[in-house]
Subunit: 398 residues, 2 copies
Amino acid sequence: MNQADLQAQPWQLSERARKLTSSAIREILKVTERPEVISFAGGLPSPATFPVEEMRVACDRILRDSPAAALQYSATEGYLPLREWVAQRYSVNGASIRPSQVLITTGSQQALDLLGKVLIDPASRVLVETPTYLGALQSFSMYEPNYVQVPTDEHGLIPETLDSTLTAGARLLYAQPNFQNPTGRRLSLARRTALAAFAQRAGFPVIEDDPYGALDYAGTPLPTMLSMAPDHIVHLGSFSKVLSPGMRVGYIIAPEELHFKLVQAKQATDLHTPSLTQRIVHEVVKDGFLETHIPKIRSLYRDQCAAMLAALQEHMPAGVEWNRPEGGMFVWVKLPQHIDTMKLLEQSIVQHVAFVPGGPFFANEAEHNTLRLSFVTVPPARIDEGVAKLGALIRAQV
Amino acid sequence: MNQADLQAQPWQLSERARKLTSSAIREILKVTERPEVISFAGGLPSPATFPVEEMRVACDRILRDSPAAALQYSATEGYLPLREWVAQRYSVNGASIRPSQVLITTGSQQALDLLGKVLIDPASRVLVETPTYLGALQSFSMYEPNYVQVPTDEHGLIPETLDSTLTAGARLLYAQPNFQNPTGRRLSLARRTALAAFAQRAGFPVIEDDPYGALDYAGTPLPTMLSMAPDHIVHLGSFSKVLSPGMRVGYIIAPEELHFKLVQAKQATDLHTPSLTQRIVHEVVKDGFLETHIPKIRSLYRDQCAAMLAALQEHMPAGVEWNRPEGGMFVWVKLPQHIDTMKLLEQSIVQHVAFVPGGPFFANEAEHNTLRLSFVTVPPARIDEGVAKLGALIRAQV
């Protein structure tokens, strides 16, 4: 929306709303819904992984056995058996998580909004990875912070860079340690340990956003920072990537003092997450379903990732770099400095190939020669075809 | 939470979070969940009105016919067939509402949060009824406005009082014209017309929050202000009182320029309302179900209301006043000036009778001799028993 559009508003908007601009990328990517487009742009999990039959049976059982409770208003904190399940699941590696620390959210996106509400004032400093999850920037930006970019490399955020110049006056540090969106990078064990130790002396919470942790191809997850510093880490989890994103069920595990404030903020925000979706999720997961289900997703995504890496190897010219994800849904590609991926997207869309340019994932200074490829929804043959087209476009410019 | 608790926070909270205090009333009312308590305190619809079987069949059909779409991420604006249904339903009395004006929200509470996000800056003036819906105060307060109380009487908000002293610099006016929570009052037709005309020249939107409009006992609804001034009224609707509150499905009908900003704010808040709950609601309502279902709710609530009014007539001493609602779920009771209903609640809880003191429903200066009674979930015999106890307590103090 340009300045003329802003002036067309008949009413005075809040400062935060005036700063909202419509995304040029979002406009371009609208075409990705057409079937002829090979889209590496989505952040969507593969619908092949949705446990449809289990959900249907669960919903049917809930509406037969406890319809009044499933359809009535319920507690802001969430459905207690689900909160207990989450607490139990995280009580590993010596950590003891209490249900009273768990708040069920309307997807993890709401967790970000609530943290912004409770922790950020205008001009508060907020530390984020370089690059970071675009949706977190969108949520936090509603509370008008000043972002500080924390340096990263192929092993994720670099804890050694967190000196007082960077961290003075910060309200939170936001990180995705597992298979980060957009880079697919995993924070190493040594750095987790260092960052958890940092959290214990920081004076502000470290947010461990972990939607992709279960999607570890080798099935050898690294310990969460929550397990290392449970009183100083705020952990965000989600059922979006292991069951269904359309259900919008996530959770925040936080120290009780902060939990209490988050509950109050949630009450003002949507009263509670739908009773039915919470109960469906609980009914599906309560007897160990994920122990057999998650390995299937891992296996599918591992194969999809291999197809993407093979295609990149085959079709990308020299000077193009990418990582080899050990889990998750994304690979991060770096082109020669002079190639602007926003312009590249305009060209590739004409050839029916879509991706997300890297620029919007940077809080401040962006690397415009980067892009994110999602590899979980496109069949391998089409992955090869799409990457070949993308490679040819890049080859013509190097 | 008292000052000592606030200081116990290990981290710096936002200004808005520091202002959040836990409600003494909420603490007292926790006991209302016990079966021996006769609770007039809830804002819950009667579970007898939930169309359980229709919901179960709808959910089953959706998860058989379109599971991938029902479980996948979906558009922030909401499920298009549901948006079309809403637009169609409001295109009456000469109004023409477009689906492009409809945003599906995670309950009406989220509509209030999004309006706060998009319209309110710290210290912005926000006009509210006297008294007003507590949940709206909670939502808007997150954006730190200065409230201005608009005078009301038994016919609702008094439009003649909206002079420039009251309205200068306001960002929005918030009203519940039908069977308001907490008073049960309905805004008269003449005042709707006047308020809609005011909206057209105000320079800020008038919010018409209408969760109870369908619960009109006589089935003779007054026209919405939306139908009178569709370019200047923002209308909030909900399925909570006609289908199920636990589903958390509501909607905002707004002029397109504002709709566009609300969509951006919602994207940052929870991405979208759950795909499944939206589709269940649409599947249940799409073929006219509400035309037979709503009259049943009306009839039940009319009888419940009659039982409450008869009990008040029977048991309240002289000097106690109340209104005779024409719809909705609440009656508003005014006691002699010297009786503080917060103290009365402490006494009545001992006798296992609960209500909500009126004080918290006032944005600024409160009338502490008021209280709200909900009459839809307690069986008539218990209504009489509860009101008799309450009447005896009051009688002892007049």
